[in-house]
């Protein structure tokens, strides 16, 4: 089997629109979650979100921008960043040996919301002509492929909150087997429309607003955690066959060494310890990696009562006593839950932190819950910590559990 290098990373996120800015804010634990104040926010119980500071006009010519939902704008700009970071010349590569693998949970949900507004709220039949092509779930991946003329597989994965971890993992498998030489892989999500926020609210999974500091409302693993906060953004990595990357003198961020995907097949929302544990075991097996080798876990860590307790139990199930000595980072506390983009941004942040010998903090964790008794790196990053191997967990409604394992180049 071939080895897979991560040679490029692109991030458009609430924590910043570059890898340097996003990592700096993640390390400092600066939360991007805040109150949102559109007129319709008065109809939300907790008007909270983690938004990206982003203006599509700065990135696309007007006629093209008119065809791009916000989710596609994020995806394409993150891909541009990743490809520039990889310094790979796609024009001289066999483009049928390059694939695009993207995850998104809700696709162009803003466009869909706008269409409903026209049709039902305004009682108008004037649905915009681009509604279908902007709203379709595979649009973000398609636009990346079109921009770079990539003619290999262009695949979109929609497994809710594990979508982009699945996308990266499936791309890894293709590279490993020799089907492709390069993959542009990651995820994008732009779910902060009124309709989407109301729908998530109706499910009773969103955090209540912290009365003293709204930006600290998402509290993974804490005793007083109350749920997740929705965020938006995209993260894309360039995966490249190892020898090819070495040969062209690429700067390698790290190596993707394992991927496990196991499905709960139990309940549409409630996770299972067995399913999550099995996914972690599958990833470790694929990576040929012992439990004692994992130096950091980027947890799924949503801040919901159920997830954090089940994930903690699953980590203990897999790692046994070793679990207590593995630092666990839950960065959703500050960038929110990017749904289908979560797995990609968390994998990227964990990889970048590993490169810089930093353990990212889990913020807003004053008192851990009784059933959350591991080392979550509470409230403060740890520096100068040698990290050789990390695990990134992504679990999902629908039960598709995906786990990635990355390794340092040193």
């Amino acid at each position: 089997m071939r080895r897979v290098a991560v040679t490029g990373i692109g991030i458009i996120s609430p924590l910043g629109n570059s890898i340097a800015e996003a990592l700096s804010n993640a390390t400092a634990g600066r939360s991007a979650i805040c109150r949102i104040d559109e007129p319709w926010c008065r109809r939300l119980v907790s008007p909270l979100a983690a938004r990206v500071a982003f203006n599509g006009d700065e990135h696309f010519a007007p006629p093209k921008l008119r065809m791009l939902d916000r989710v596609s704008q994020f995806a394409v700009v993150a891909a541009r960043q990743a490809i520039a970071d990889a310094a790979v010349d796609i024009a001289i590569t066999d483009r049928q040996r390059i694939g695009v693998f993207l995850g998104t949970g809700m696709g162009g949900s803003q466009t869909t919301d706008d269409g409903y507004q026209t049709l039902y709220a305004e009682q108008s039949d004037r649905i915009k002509p681009f509604t279908i092509l902007m709203g379709m779930t595979n649009a973000p991946a398609a636009w990346i492929g079109i921009e770079y003329g990539v003619t290999g597989p262009n695949l979109t994965y929609s497994t809710a909150c594990s979508s982009s971890a699945v996308a990266i993992g499936e791309a890894w498998m293709r590279l490993r087997q020799g089907d492709l030489d390069i993959a542009i892989a990651g995820g994008a999500e732009a779910p902060l429309s009124f309709g989407a926020l109301k729908a998530w609210e109706a499910l009773h999974t969103l955090a209540s607003e912290d009365p003293t500091n709204p930006s600290s409302s998402c509290k993974p693993f804490a005793k007083n955690r109350s749920g997740m906060v929705l965020g938006e953004g995209a993260a894309v990595v360039v995966l490249e066959e190892w020898e090819r990357a070495i040969k062209r003198g690429a700067t390698i961020h790290g190596e993707l060494i394992g991927y496990g995907v196991v499905t709960d097949a139990a309940h549409i929302t409630r996770p299972t310890v067995d399913g999550q544990a099995a996914a972690m075991r599958a990833a470790l097996k694929a990576a040929a990696c012992a439990t004692v080798s994992i130096d950091n876990i980027n947890a799924h860590g949503t801040g919901t009562q159920v997830n954090d307790a089940v994930e903690t139990a699953a980590i203990k199930e897999v790692f046994g006593d070793v679990a207590y000595s593995i630092p666990i980072s839950a960065t959703k506390a500050i960038h929110g839950h990017l749904l289908g983009a979560s797995g990609a941004i968390e994998f990227a942040l964990a990889l970048l932190a590993m490169q810089r010998d930093v353990l990212l903090p889990t913020m807003h964790l004053e008192v851990a819950a009784e059933d959350c008794d591991l080392d979550y790196v509470p409230n403060c990053a740890r520096h100068n910590v040698k990290i050789s191997t990390f695990m990134s967990n992504s679990f999902a409604f629908g039960g598709t559990n995906a786990v990635l394992v990355g390794r340092s180049t040193e």
Partner: protein
């Protein structure tokens, strides 16, 4: 306001096109409006000119073609309205240019 001025207003507002580039013989594709973009432009034309376009697709390679097309539709629509008022059966829809 002439048809060209009204159409130019749409192109400047929605596509951020420099008014100096808007000439009657200029291909719309060179302004970034390809056959797919045309579907949206026709949508805007319906709103701006308060005219209902035939459902079938139409090819309008240049701004001048679009202006002629709109003028023909408006003329046909006016004739229909007058005929309807007079109790005459309305004529068929105008044929789009080739």
């Amino acid at each position: 306001m002439t048809t060209l001025e009204q159409l130019s207003k749409i192109l400047v507002k929605n596509y951020k096109i420099d008014p100096a580039r808007l000439t009657l013989d200029g291909p719309l594709a060179e302004l970034g409006i390809d056959s797919l973009g045309m579907a949206e432009l026709l949508f805007f034309i319906e709103d701006e000119f308060k005219v209902q376009l035939p459902f079938d697709p139409v090819a309008l390679p240049t701004l001048g073609d679009a202006v002629c097309y709109i003028d023909r539709l408006l003329a046909a629509q006016n004739a229909t309205e007058k005929s309807t008022i007079a109790g005459v059966v309305p004529p068929a829809s105008p044929h789009p240019p080739a």
